[in-house]
Structure formats: C-alpha cells, structure tokens
C-alpha cells in the first residue's frame, strides 16, 4: 500500500508565505488568548487544575439516579456555589467537586470558636487566638490558665461534631483546635443530602496555594529549558541556521496546543505540562527527520537552489511524516477513547500536538531556514570521509 507515491512533488516551499501568514495569525491569537486571558477574565482564559491553582478537588461517583441538582443542593448547604460541581468522564455518574482554598470555611469556623470561647470563659481568660487565614486548618488559643481540652471540645461539638481540641506541645496553657477539613465537610453534607451509600469518594487532591504558583513557574521553565537544550543540540549536530526553525516550530506547536485547550475550556494540570513536553519531543522528531534529509540533499545537489533542496527533502520524507502521524494518532486515539477520564485531557493535548506538530515540521521548521538565509546562511556540509587522504608515516 502507498499513500504517497514516490517522486511526489508538492510545492510546499512555494506555499510557505500562506503558511507563514496562517501560522503567524494562529500564534498571535494563541498568545493573546494565553497572555491576555491570564490578566483579564474571559470565557477562554486559561483554567488551571487544582495542582496549579491550589485548593481541593474531590472526585466522586454517585449511584444511578442521583442528579447534579441534588449534588448542588447538598453542597449549597456548606456554602459551595453551583459552579463547584462539574461532570467528568463518560459514564455520567462521576463528578468533580472543586473548592478554591484548602481551608474553605475554616476562617468563619475559627471566628465562631473565638467568640464562643470568649463568651463561655470570659474575655480576660484568653491571651490570644491565632491562625493563618490563608491556609490554617488549626488554630491555637492561648489562655491565662490551664483549661481542659476535653471540656472545650465538649463546648465546640455543638458548632461542628468533628472538631478536635488538644493541648499544645510547645506552649503552656494553649489549646489547638482543628478544623475538620473540606473533605469531611463535603462528605458530611452529601451523606445528609443523598444518603451515605449513594456516593463514593474516588479521590481527593489538596494543594496549598504556594505550591500551585511554584509548579506553574517550574512547568513553564521546564518547557523553556527543554527548548534551549534542543536549540543547542540542533545547532551542534546540524547547523546554527537550522536551530531557530526547529525551536520556532516547537514554540508554535506548544502555543497552539495551549490555545486550543483554552478554547475548549480544558484545565491545565501537571499531566498537561507532561503532554506539552511530549509534543515538543514528537514534533522535534518530525523536524529532525526532515532536517537530516535537507542536510543530505545539500551535499547531493550542491548546485541547486536552497528552496528546491528544501522542497525535495520535504517531499521525500512526506510519506514517512504522514505514516508516523497515522500510527501515533492511532495510539493516542486509543488512549483517548479507552484510557478513562483521568487521562482524557492528557491524551487530547497529545492528539492536538501530533496534528499541529506534523504541520509545523513541514510548514514552519523548514521554511524558516529559507527565511533566515539573509542573516544565517546555510553552510553546505562536507563529508570528510569522502576525501581521500595522504599522510606521511
């Protein structure tokens, strides 16, 4: 079987201006979506998963017949908005509950505790109440005398049955009050609204706000770092004039994949960064194969115009480019269809990347060499082993 017959001669190089304009527009739009969207809240602004944004994400599976309205009603009782519940996966029974902060509701709780304790024991009994409003799920209450933790716990159970109170290990006369936590609050309210056997908690992910920002920064850095290493490798193995093309193509792929993700309203998570780096690897693979052929053909046809050489090379490798895209897309397609909801977004990113990567290795990476001719002329490589040598012994 042959999809692309040998001796094909599509004029890729001739169409490079159209491609360049198209790509330039696409990348600009992608950039606007990603960068402007990060500052201004638009419907297509990048959405971050819990690992990047911080907070708590609880995946639950409900029994047949439980509706999203029931879930929302239940979660509403602990003050969670309707937006915090989303369906995920194909079965229609799995939901994602997202809570913005890891200590959701803790502040209000601690404030109530503070006023309760002041009312019960008198203001003068307490030296101070301390907690970090950003992320504490524990507060410390220092008193002027020793107060039994069990007694305080007894008083606080009316506020929340799951609260615990213990003595501080570091301070005298201080008590530590623990907030039961978001997961327990969600479980509790859903048990009440649906019945305890009507849902199952599949997984819980909690991320502190500082980690999210750090991971985002590291994720971006890792992509930049990978691109830099590749630039060096390509410049070293091929020719400096080849390297910008390769990197431009990779940046193009990453930018467009990110933009498509934004447009589809998908969340960026750690696996998405993994997928983006994989796309970098895949797209580069394609580009390198073409570059290799260009280098070979430069030696083979030293007198031909560079544009011709690039076009011939693209045609000669076209069959391989198409075939590999087919097999990879086949594998990624299987992953999308059968891999389950957890890696659905990951496989989607890969699929977008493979398509864009195939395009960019033909229409971005190689034409870029021609475009840069003025500033970075290609040096025709010479294969030294073909030159006989005479040496004195």
């Amino acid at each position: 079987m042959q999809f692309i017959k040998p001796g094909s001669n599509y004029d890729f190089v001739g169409k490079r201006r159209f491609a360049a304009i198209g790509s330039a527009i696409a990348v600009t739009v992608a950039f606007l979506i990603a960068v402007v969207g990060s500052f201004v809240d638009t419907p297509v602004s990048p959405k971050y998963g819990v690992d990047f944004a911080g907070g708590t994400e609880i995946l639950i599976k409900v029994a047949d017949g439980v509706t999203i309205e029931q879930l929302r009603a239940g979660l509403g009782e602990v003050g969670l908005s309707d937006d915090s519940v989303q369906r995920f996966g194909g079965s229609g029974l799995e939901y994602k509950v997202r809570v913005e902060s890891v200590n959701y509701g803790a502040n209000e709780f601690f404030e109530t505790v503070e006023s309760t304790l002041k009312a019960d024991y008198g203001e003068d009994t307490w030296v101070r109440f301390e907690w970090d409003p950003e992320q504490s799920i524990k507060m410390s209450a220092k008193a002027t005398r020793t107060i039994s933790p069990a007694e305080v716990q007894g008083k606080l159970t009316a506020l929340n049955p799951d609260v615990t109170v213990e003595e501080s290990k570091v301070e005298h006369n201080a008590l530590i009050v623990s907030f039961p936590g978001v997961t327990d609050a969600v479980k509790g309210t859903l048990s009440g609204a649906l019945g305890a056997n009507q849902f199952e908690v599949l997984s819980v992910e909690m991320v502190g706000p500082s980690v999210g920002a750090e991971l985002r920064r590291q994720g971006l850095l890792s992509i930049v770092f990978a691109l830099a290493l590749i630039l060096v490798y390509v410049a070293f193995r091929f020719d400096l004039s080849f390297a910008p093309g390769a990197v431009a193509a990779l940046g193009h792929d990453v930018a467009i994949t990110i933009a498509v993700f934004c447009l589809l309203g998908r969340e960026f998570t750690l696996p998405t960064i993994g997928a983006l780096l994989t796309i970098v690897g895949y797209s580069l693979n394609d580009t390198i194969v073409v570059y290799d052929r260009i280098r070979e053909n430069l030696i083979r046809y030293p007198r031909r115009d560079l544009g011709d050489v690039v076009n011939v090379s693209l045609n000669e490798t076209l069959s391989r480019t198409v075939l590999t895209s087919i097999t990879t897309l086949g594998a990624v397609g299987a992953l999308m269809a059968f891999g389950g909801p957890i890696i659905a977004d990951f496989s989607l990113a890969l699929a977008i990347g493979v398509l864009v990567g195939t395009y960019s290795s033909i229409f971005v990476a190689s034409p870029m060499i021609l475009f840069l001719q003025k500033w970075l002329p290609v040096e025709v490589p010479v294969l030294d082993e073909e030159e006989p040598e005479l040496r004195a012994r």
């Binding site: 819980v204 909690m206 993994g274 594998a331 389950g340 957890i342």
Partner: protein, 611 residues
C-alpha cells in the same frame, strides 16, 4: 550467515529470554518475599492488638481489622518461581490507591527559635563579664538586636565574639529609638540548624508511620525543606495528616532493676523467647511482646535500640533494654538540646530543661546516681546514659564515649534530633495531598489495559496492511520492544502509573516510526532500481543517524520532564525514556537481523514491503 550475525542473533535472543525471566513475577502477580514478610508482620501486630484489647468494643474493632487483613491474602509464589528474579513492576499510588503527601517543614522557624534562645545566651555571657544588656530577636528575621545601655561597646563585642563564635556582626542600628548591636547567624551554623530541623521532621514521621503499620511507606526528603510521604493502601487523608502532623513522644524512663537484669540477661531472655516462639529473623515488636508475655516483670517492658539499615531500608534491632514502664520525664520538659565540644575536643550533647523539668530531673538524678536512664522516642530507645552525679541546674551533658570522633559526633547529632523531636516541633505544612481510592485505581488499570490492547491492534494492523511481510517484521520488533520496556521497568523496580501506561502506549505509536523511516528509505532505494540486498543495506545505513538524532532529542525532552515532574508524571517520563532506548535497539538491530537472515541466509530476491 557470518559470525557477526550469529553473535548479534545470540545476544538478542539471550536479552529476550532474560527480559522474559524478569517478567515472570510481574505476570504471576505473586507477592515478593519482602511483601510476604510485611504482610505476616502486620498480621502478627493485629493479633497482638486483639490479645491486648481491654474491653469488648476494642476487641470487636481489632477483630474486624484482622478479618479485613486476612481476607486479603498475598498471592504466594510457586516454588519454581524462586529461580527467577523476584523484582516486579510495582503499581503507582494512582493505580493501587493510597495517599501521596508533600510536606514542607518550616525550617525558617527553626532558625528563628535558635535566635530566640541565643538572645538569652548573649545576655548571659555579657553578664558573666559584668556587662548589663538586653537582647531580642528582631521580628520576622533571625537577627538578634543587643541593647547595651551604658555598657562598653567594643568590650561587649569582643566578649560576644570570644564566647559565642557563631555570629556575623551586622553593625549598629537604631531600633525602637535605642542603639543596638545587630547580629546574624553565620551561614554554616544556620544551614546546620535548617538541616537538623528537616532531619528531625523525617525522623518523627518515620517513627509515626512505622508504628502505624502501613505496608510499604516511602519517606524521602526533597530539596532543602520538603518531605514526600507515600502511604499505599490508606484512603483517609485526614487520618494520614493526623499521623504525620503530630509530634513524636519523647520519654525519659529508668532501666528496670539493673542489678538483677544485666544487659546479658535481657539479651539472653529475648533470644530464648524468639527461639521458643519460632519467630525466625524477621519479627515485629508486637510478635516479640507476645513471646515475652509473662517472662518480664509487669512494671517493665523490653524496648530496643534500633539502627536504620540504609541498604535494606528498614530498622534493625541492635540492643534490647528492660525499661521501666514509669515515665519520669517527657519531651515537654526539654527546652533545648545541642551538640557541644568539651575541652578535649570530644563532642557531647548539652540538654537544657525548663524549670519544672529541672526540678524533676534534679530529684531523679539524685535518687539514681550510677544508674541508667533510657531516652525513648516513640517506643524506640535512642541511648541509655547513666547518671554520674546529681544534676541540679536543669542543664545536663550527655557524653557518648570516646570512640572514633566522627562516629561520636554522628551519634551526638542523632541524639539531638531525638531530644528536640519532643521539644521543638518545626511546623509542618501540607503542601500537596493526593488521595486515590481503590475503585479509581482499579478503573485506571482496566482502562489502561483496554487502551493498550486497542492501540497495539491499530498500530500492528496498520503496519501489516501497509508494509505486508516487512510490516510483520516491524511488528515482531514492537512486540519485543514492549517486553524489553516492561522487563527494564521490573528490573529497576520502577513504578507504573497511569501516565506511565500512556507513555507505553505512545511508545507503541512512535516506536514503529524508526521502522517507517527505514522502510521508506528501502522503498526509495528499490524505486531507484537497486537490488533488494543493496536497498536494505542502504536503507539501514542512511536511516541510522536520522533515527538516532530524532530519538536523542526526544530523550532530552524526556529527561527534562523527569527532572520537573513529580509522582505520576515521573512515571510517564521513565516509560518514555526507556521506550526510546529499547525502540531504537529493536528497530536498528532486531529487524536488521531478520532482514539479513532473509536476504543472506535464505537468499530471497524479492521483498514484501507493500509496493
């Protein structure tokens, strides 16, 4: 067929067989000897818990836990399996269910606390030289401000420099309208404080978890202030947080009637009990407790000094002590502990107690001169120094012998970690907590298997249709490739995660790429009219560097991903990198072998490559 071919053929075959051997245990799904050991140990613990249960309610809970445990037996390996390596691919927490925590130890607080203490020390040393001063730590920093009042500036500075050579002098500042000398810790010392704080947190967490009996916990430090804790099989994050968030219990307890119970006698008692009960070499503390029941006095129990074997990754019992059950002092009474050096340059540990602690300690030491006191952290004995004299002032020095100074210093540092574990809990913050339930893990495994099967079917089917016989050869290589990947993962004891499975699937799609490059080359050469043999040779020769270049660059991105990613994503990077190595090998070597056999060995003239 030349010798070279036979050599390559032989090595490939051997490699293949070795790979299969490494997969025997993974495919069999048997529990490795370590897993069996852990399972049995946990069972013994639960039995002991049941036996020691006081009331009906506790008994019922213990029985329930034991039944749960016994209803999940570990699959035993058949006897012939012992001829194969028992390394297995283990499943990541996202596939088997469990809790993955990333903790941050607030090591800044440890330095600030030290600054608080040293402000007192500075005032003290100045007072010893008849200089009056006050000192405080400057808020939100670890710098110390010393207010001198009327005392002489340069003399004070000289005294501080002489007596406490741990500071850098930052200069004179005006703080709260008063003149102050400002000091900061020297870099080395501050680093040491931070390191100790992290170590101490790890120690605390390890103790807790060991006690809790989680089957295969993983506790690692990450960077300067992070700790990663993985608890397979647990699914209640709150319980895990309580587990690692609590402070360790530090206790000071006297040894039980040393005159009657010498070290030799205790050791002999333990050895006899172990032998009589047939416990073998690996037994748990709970098992031993059962074996010793009735053989030790009621007011005492046997506790061990343990060392942590880094190679086996587990605690090894070193010396048994018969320790009184009465707790004389706890960690709350310890203010501070640090490594100090005496006039002979021998390291010792200086421990400071608070005022209540000093009073109790004074009486305890007075009553027990010449006797030994065990320092017990979460039921493990760190050491059992003896009282040389009555210690009245609340400051004790613990000497650790006069052996190899390096070893003594290490022991001293360990002891400080233990003493502070009760005294100074560096605040631990949970940065990241990922809890995956068993159902989701099982779903993931099922989905992974289906997706792999479908991907294989699609890719292999396509190659067969497109390249006919040559496609079949490439398919052999891909199949072999998967065996190699899995064997390498098993051999490294790598962890397979859901993204890791995705990595394997992606590798299936991309692995045929190398063959596609070669086959397209061969087709080109055939098209130009070359012979089958020449086309194959040229195809491989020209494709080799292309394939290497393409894969090296992909490998670079894999490596970047590995260094960036955590948990599941690391698993993906590993399978991707391993897949690249094996697919290059199978595409360049294995398929070549088969083609060479067909053209040279069988002398075929035409090639079925789909043209």
């Amino acid at each position: 067929m030349d010798g070279n071919w036979w050599f390559k053929f032989g090595s490939t075959t051997i490699l293949f067989l070795v790979s299969l051997a490494w997969l025997v245990w993974t495919v069999g799904g048997w529990a490795s000897p370590e897993e069996v050991e852990l399972h049995d140990a946990r069972e013994a613990e639960l039995v002991a818990l049941l036996n020691s249960a006081d009331d009906e309610a506790a008994k019922a809970i213990a029985q329930q836990t034991l039944n749960d445990h016994q209803s999940k037996p570990v699959p035993a390996a058949p006897s012939w399996a012992s001829y194969f390596p028992s390394d297995k691919i283990s499943l990541g927490l996202d596939l088997q269910g469990g809790i993955d925590l990333e903790l941050q130890v607030d090591i800044r607080k440890a330095v600030e606390a030290a600054a608080d203490r040293y402000s007192g020390t500075i005032v003290q040393v100045l007072k010893d030289e008849s200089l009056t001063a006050t000192a405080i730590r400057i808020d939100t920093t670890a710098d110390i401000a010393v207010f001198l009042g009327d005392s002489d500036d340069s003399k004070s500075r000289a005294v501080i420099l002489e007596e406490i050579p741990l500071f850098n002098f930052l200069g004179v500042q005006t703080i709260n309208d008063k003149r102050a000398l400002v000091y900061e810790f020297q870099q080395d010392f501050a680093d040491q404080l931070r390191k100790t704080a992290l170590q101490q947190a790890v120690e605390t967490i390890r103790n807790r978890i060991d006690k809790f009996g989680v089957t295969e916990p993983v506790i690692l430090t990450k960077g300067a202030d992070r700790i990663t804790v993985q608890l397979p099989g647990l699914d209640d994050p709150q319980r895990a947080i309580d587990l690692v968030g609590k402070t360790a219990q530090l206790e000071f307890r006297m040894l039980y009637e040393e005159d009657a119970w010498s070290d030799q006698r205790v050791r002999a008692l333990v050895e006899t009990a172990v032998e009589t009960a047939g416990l073998g070499e690996n037994y748990t503390d709970a098992q031993l407790k059962l074996a010793l029941a009735g053989k030790v006095p009621d007011e005492a129990e046997v506790l061990f000094k343990k060392t942590f074997d880094d190679l086996k990754m587990k605690a090894v019992r070193e010396q048994p002590f018969l320790v009184s059950k009465k707790v004389d002092l706890t960690g709350e009474f310890v203010d501070y502990a640090q490594v100090a050096v005496d006039q002979f340059n021998a390291p010792y540990v200086r421990m400071e107690l608070n005022s209540d602690g000093a009073r109790i300690f004074s009486k305890l030491s007075g009553d027990n001169v010449g006797k030994r006191m065990a320092i017990v952290l979460d039921d493990n004995v760190n050491s059992a120094p003896s009282f040389r004299e009555k210690i009245p002032g609340g400051v004790a020095s613990i000497e650790l012998g006069s052996g190899d100074p390096m070893a003594v210093r290490r022991d001293a540092e360990d002891l400080v970690v233990v003493l502070r574990a009760g005294a100074l809990p560096a605040p631990i913050e949970i940065l990241h907590n990922r809890t995956v339930g068993k159902t989701l893990g099982d779903d993931g495994i099922r989905a992974g298997k289906t997706a792999t099967a479908v991907a294989l079917l699609l890719v292999l089917g396509f190659m067969l249709v497109y390249y006919r016989m040559s496609g079949f050869i490439a398919n052999l290589a891909v199949t072999l490739n998967i065996a190699f990947i899995l064997a390498m993962l098993a051999g490294f004891g790598a962890t397979l995660t859901l993204p890791g499975i995705a990595g394997i699937i992606l590798t299936i799609g991309m692995a045929v790429d190398a063959n596609v490059i070669i086959f397209e080359r061969i087709r080109e050469e055939l098209f130009e009219g070359k012979s089958v043999r020449a086309s194959i040779a040229a195809g491989y020769d020209k494709a080799t560097w292309t394939i290497l270049d393409a894969n090296i660059t992909t490998f670079i991105t894999g490596a970047v991903l590995y260094s960036y990613g955590s948990g599941p994503i690391k698993g993906f990077a590993v399978t991707l990198m391993v897949g690249i190595i094996t697919s290059v090998f199978t595409a360049l070597v294995v398929t070549r072998l088969i083609f060479d056999y067909l053209t040279h060995g069988r002398g075929i003239r035409s090639l079925s490559i789909g043209v």
